[in-house]
């Protein structure tokens, strides 16, 4: 058997996993499952894994629905970067619709939502509540990008 050649240190680039998904609702579940499989293997406790599952599914759903407007020719790209400190997940769409900054700062309120016709608007707020860090930016490819970070506390 050849020597497994396991280097003791690794640059970030070598730890990057990329997942390309079609812009079709349902495929956010693949990103959710890949994220949770990685997080479990990295030793995150189960309640943190559940939080990551919800955050990833919300971000990918938004990329499909809003960023790519359900255009199935457009891709959602999810990049996982693991390190000893935790896991970074970047979700990028192709930006058919530009993410409005105000939308990232809303604090939805159930009393108001009950009066309103739109019962939604919980996704970004949930991601921010559940993850340790959340940043919005423009992806290298020009679309919207959401970066979420979950720390390994040990």
């Amino acid at each position: 058997m050849p020597d497994p050649q396991r280097p003791s240190t690794l640059g970030d680039e070598e730890r990057v996993i990329e997942l390309h998904l079609p812009s079709r609702l349902g495929y956010e579940k693949v990103a959710m499952d890949t994220a949770s499989a990685m997080a479990k293997r990295m030793g995150f406790p189960l309640d943190r894994v559940d939080s990551l599952r919800t955050a990833v599914s919300e971000a990918v759903t938004n990329a499909i629905e809003h960023g790519n407007q359900h255009d199935s020719a457009m891709k959602v790209v999810v990049v996982f970067t693991g390190s000893d400190d935790g896991l970074i997940v970047d979700v990028a769409d192709q930006g058919r619709k530009r993410l409005d900054e105000a939308a990232t700062e809303r604090l939805p309120n159930i009393q108001q939502v009950l009066q309103s016709d739109d019962k939604g608007g919980w996704g970004i707020w949930l991601i921010k509540e559940l993850m340790d860090e959340v940043q919005f930016s423009v992806a290298p490819t020009g679309g919207n990008q959401l970066r979420m970070v979950i720390h390994l506390d040990r």
Binding site: L25, E28, S51, S57, E58, L114, K119, W122, G123
Partner: protein
């Protein structure tokens, strides 16, 4: 292929109507959940339990559907409880504030027992 359908069933236990949800609670669940709610309401339901059976994927669109049910429940003067959620989704439902409008119970039996007390008091 990747879009599991949600199975929704309705049944009655001594004055309390139960809406069973099995599968993903997402935007695709809207018609099924709304129809089940309308069905039990048409049967005269006053006390309703939404009972999740192994739904390990509930997203914000699913939560929006349930908030829609709460709106109707308030309008109709019904009483709603929710049971069967995992610890994670119990937490999410509390974060969102749904727990202010529907008591959350771990199991169906507890939810039904709590509502039956109200049936008897009525």
């Amino acid at each position: 292929m990747i879009d599991d359908e949600l199975k929704v069933g309705t049944r009655q236990r001594d004055g309390v109507w139960i809406i069973d949800l099995e599968g993903d609670v997402t935007t695709f669940a809207e018609d099924a959940i709304t129809s089940a709610y309308e069905k039990v309401t048409g049967e005269g339901a006053k006390y309703i339990v939404i009972n999740s059976r192994q739904s390990d994927y509930i997203n914000s669109a699913g939560i929006a559907i349930l908030i829609g049910v709460v709106t109707e429940v308030n309008r109709q003067g019904q009483k709603l409880a929710i049971s069967g959620l995992s610890a994670h989704f119990q937490k999410i439902f509390r974060m969102v504030g749904l727990a202010q409008y529907a008591d959350i119970y771990a199991g169906e039996d507890e939810a039904v027992a709590a509502l039956q007390k109200l049936v008897q008091a009525a």
